[in-house]
Symmetry: C2
Subunit: 199 residues, 2 copies
C-alpha cells in the first residue's frame, strides 16, 4: 500500500539509514529518493529541503532510541545503579548488532551529526542538545533514586549525570574509531565511578 504516510515514512527511514551509514553531506537527495523509491517531486512535497528531512529523521531516531533503549534500560524493575549498567549494556548491544549487520560500528547518529553540523547548523545543534538533555535527565533521575535508596552518597546528581552521558558518547565515538563495539561493554562498567565526587 503506497499511502502518502508510507511515502513520507519511507523517506525518513531511508534518510536515517543512509545518514547513519555515512554522513549528512555525503548523502544526496537523489540517493535518498532512489533508495526509497520516491520521485523528486514527492520528496519536495513532503519536505521543504534536505535539511528538513534530516531534522525529521533525527526526531524519528530519537523516538526509536527512546523506546528501544532508554525506556527499557531505565525502568525501575531493578536497582538504580544496575539500570545504568543496563543502559551501557544496551548501548553495547545496539552497536554490536549494527556492526554485525553492516561491518562497521557506525557510532551515535546524534553525535555524528553534532560533530558534522554543530558549528554550521544551530537548529540541528539545538535539537541534538535537547535530546542529550533528555538522556541526561533519565540518568539524573536514576542517580537520585540511588541516592534516596542509600546506594550513593548525597551529591550533585545532575553534574554526575552529564559526566556519565558524556562518557557514553565518548565510548561510542571511541568504539567507532576503533571499529570495536566491545569497548563500550568493557569500559562502560566504569561509568558509575564518575558519580563519586572527588574529595
Amino acid at each position: 500500500m503506497d499511502t502518502a504516510a508510507d511515502t513520507r515514512q519511507r523517506l525518513v527511514d531511508t534518510a536515517r539509514n543512509l545518514i547513519a551509514a555515512s554522513s549528512y553531506h555525503a548523502v544526496g537527495v537523489q540517493e535518498i529518493c532512489g533508495q526509497a523509491g520516491v520521485q523528486k517531486g514527492s520528496f519536495y512535497h513532503f519536505f521543504d529541503s534536505k535539511r528538513e528531512l534530516a531534522l525529521a529523521a533525527v526526531d524519528d531516531m530519537a523516538e526509536y532510541f527512546s523506546r528501544s533503549i532508554f525506556e527499557h534500560a531505565f525502568s525501575a524493575d531493578i536497582a538504580p545503579l544496575a539500570r545504568i549498567e543496563r543502559f551501557f549494556t544496551a548501548v553495547y548491544n545496539y552497536h554490536q548488532q549494527v556492526k554485525d549487520t553492516t561491518g562497521h560500528v557506525q557510532g551515535c547518529p546524534f553525535g555524528n551529526l553534532a560533530g558534522e553540523l554543530g558549528s554550521v547548523d544551530s537548529g540541528m545543534r539545538d535539537k541534538i542538545d535537547t535530546l542529550f538533555r533528555l538522556a541526561e535527565t533519565a540518568i539524573d533521575q536514576t542517580l537520585q533514586d540511588a541516592v534516596e535508596q542509600g546506594d550513593l552518597p548525597r551529591m550533585d546528581t545532575h553534574a554526575a549525570a552529564r559526566a556519565i552521558f558524556a562518557y557514553a558518547e565518548g565510548l561510542i565515538l571511541y568504539a567507532k574509531t576503533r571499529n570495536d563495539a566491545t569497548l563500550i561493554r568493557d569500559l562502560g562498567k566504569r561509568a558509575i565511578q564518575l558519580a563519586i565526587e572527588a574529595g
Copy 2:
C-alpha cells in the same frame, strides 16, 4: 616568498581551518584553493586528491596538538595525577579559545572526522585510531607513574587510560553540542575517578 613548500603548507593550513569549522564533505577543493590563494592545478600537483590533503591536514593537526597540548600537559614537572588534570585544563583552554575566536566550540577535529568518515574511509579511520592510541599511551604512562609513586593503587592502567581518553572525547563532543566549553573544565575534574576500578 611563495615557495613550493609554502604553497603546500598554505593548502594544509587552509584545509585544517575549513574542515575544522565545518566538515570534510562541506568543504570543496575550490573553496580551499580560493582561500589559500592557490590554483586548482597547483593543488593537484601537491596532492593526488582532496582526500590526500585531508589526511595530510590530520597529520599536521596531530603534530600541532602533540606539541601544544600533550607535550606540555604530560611533562613530568608535576605529580602524575596533576598532569591529567592539566591535560583537561589544556583541552578546555583550547576549545574556549576557539569559541572566543569563532563563536563556536568546534569540537575535536579528529573526533569529528572519525564520526563523519569512520564508516566510509577506513584509511582515515585507521589514522585517527592511531592518533587516539598515542594519546592513550601518554595517559597510560602517566597512570603508571602514579601507581609507582603510590598515588594510585595497582590497576590495569591501560584500560583506565582508554576510559579517560574516551571521557575526554565525550566531553568535547558534549561541549560542542551545547556550544559550551566550560563543560570540559567542570566535568573534566572527574576523569581520574575512571581510573579506580570498580569492585
